[in-house]
């Protein structure tokens, strides 16, 4: 009984933390000035956010065998998100996109 | 709840379709088309068509986008006029 309540608290906590991360990532994606900072915000916060939301959902209502799918999905998101951001930032670098600096007041 | 989800998804679908039409940069248009396909895939999963959703996710967002990008790399990147 107590274990169930604890599990529920952990699950809801994970989901709340994940949503907070996702919100921060989305704000960063909209507000940051250039492609590198945006990739930074999107990859870090979205993998942390989606990963912990998925883990929280897996723990919600107890952990059943079918919830392994959600854990696998969380691993997939955590692996593929940063890789995508890396590829994007690398492509931007190679095509000569310069990083934002304070003197320029925004990207060209 | 389901009605709200449906309405938001359909509005998002129409908005992405219009941004595909408005994009001058062809690569941006193709990326937006991939986003459109993924939203459509969510709508179909929600409407009890998981088979169609899987195929659309792999074909519409994956294969079609890659084919478009290959052709753009061979031709011109941005639309004139």
């Amino acid at each position: 009984m107590i274990g169930g309540v604890l599990l529920e608290i952990v699950a809801v906590g994970l989901v709340v933390v994940g949503v907070a991360f996702l919100l921060a990532g989305t704000i960063g994606l909209v507000r940051f000035p250039d492609v590198y900072t945006r990739a930074h915000a999107a990859s870090k916060c979205d993998s942390a956010g989606a990963g912990s939301v998925l883990l929280g959902l897996a723990l919600h209502d107890g952990f059943a065998f079918g919830d392994l799918k959600l854990v696998l999905l969380a691993i997939l998101v955590v692996v593929s998100g940063p890789t995508t951001a890396h590829a994007l930032a690398r492509a931007a670098m190679r095509s000569g996109r310069r990083a934002w600096t304070r003197d320029e007041r925004g990207p060209a | 709840m389901s009605v709200v989800f449906d309405a938001v998804m359909l509005l998002l679908l129409i908005a992405t379709a219009i941004t595909v039409a408005r994009a001058r940069d062809l690569v941006a248009a193709v990326v937006k088309f991939g986003l459109y396909s993924l939203v459509l895939c969510l709508v179909w999963q929600h409407r009890g068509a998981p088979d169609v959703a899987i195929t659309e996710a792999a074909v519409g967002a994956g294969v079609t986008s890659v084919l478009f990008l290959l052709t753009i790399a061979k031709t011109a990147r941005s639309e004139r006029g």
Binding site: S80, T83, H86, A87 | D51, A58, V59, L67
Partner: protein
């Protein structure tokens, strides 16, 4: 041009709005979609075909002829793309003095990040397992021949993008390439002929209880042929469009 397009779109939209005004509301259990042949498939499909995923049942057993022609269509599309001159023309391989330099140049042109290389190589087997699982369990879960063809095709394209043209070309064994491309239409025709000999109808499936195993085998052969043939055709379309023109 723009005003003409807007006028055309408005006319088409008005026509279609008039059209949908006369349609029965969707989602109604008593609508015509759900009361005619669809209802019969839902009630008797499992008993008649032995397939629990009724989408697969409709695709292969009830509407097999459509699917046959559709497989022929994608094969024809591949033939059409391959018939264009640039798809088959290969650049001559660099020889002698400049070979090493030009190969290095080609390497520099599209370098693949080691991180992306590693992650795609790690994920590819999992994608392949997912595709095979959706094929193997396609009769009880969402999935089946076309779905796994799309997934395997997408995986082959991802591998081709990361490993480069030469390695990607080796994914499809050279000697078997022609047969694999035509696998869908060929196997469909063969199964249709077997069905004709057994039941007297082209693409017929034996319906009696005794032929359960045979019917199952026909469906499995068709699914595998669609999955393999479709994936090879998708990968070949990618290779053809990727070829330098």
């Amino acid at each position: 041009m723009r005003t003409f397009a807007l006028a055309l779109v408005l006319v088409v939209a008005a026509t279609m709005v008039i059209g949908i005004a006369g349609l029965p509301p969707h989602g109604d259990p008593d609508g015509p979609v759900h009361t005619h042949v669809g209802a019969r498939y839902l009630e008797q499909g499992v008993a008649e075909t032995g397939l629990r995923n009724l989408v697969t049942a409709v695709l292969l057993v009830y509407r097999g002829f459509d699917t046959f022609l559709e497989v022929v269509v994608i094969f024809t599309a591949l033939v059409a793309v391959l018939a264009l001159p640039s798809a088959t023309r290969q650049p001559p391989p660099p020889r002698g003095e400049g070979a090493a330099a030009s190969r290095r140049e080609a390497d520099d042109a599209v370098p693949v990040s080691p991180v992306v290389f590693l992650v795609v190589r790690l994920l590819a087997p999992f994608i392949a397992v997912f595709a095979l699982a959706s094929l193997y369990r396609g009769h009880v879960t969402p999935g089946g021949g076309f779905q796994s063809a799309a997934i395997i095709g997408a995986m082959m394209i991802a591998l081709g993008l990361v490993f480069g043209r030469e390695h990607a070309a080796r994914l499809v064994p050279h000697g078997a390439k022609a047969w694999l491309q035509a696998l869908g239409p060929l196997v469909f025709a063969a199964v249709a002929f077997v069905g004709w000999r057994l039941t007297g109808a082209f693409l017929g499936f034996p319906a009696d209880e005794a032929a359960y195993a045979l019917r199952e085998a026909m469906v499995v052969v068709l699914e595998v042929a669609i999955a393999v043939g479709g994936a090879v055709i998708l990968a070949q379309l990618f290779m053809a469009l990727d070829a330098p023109s």
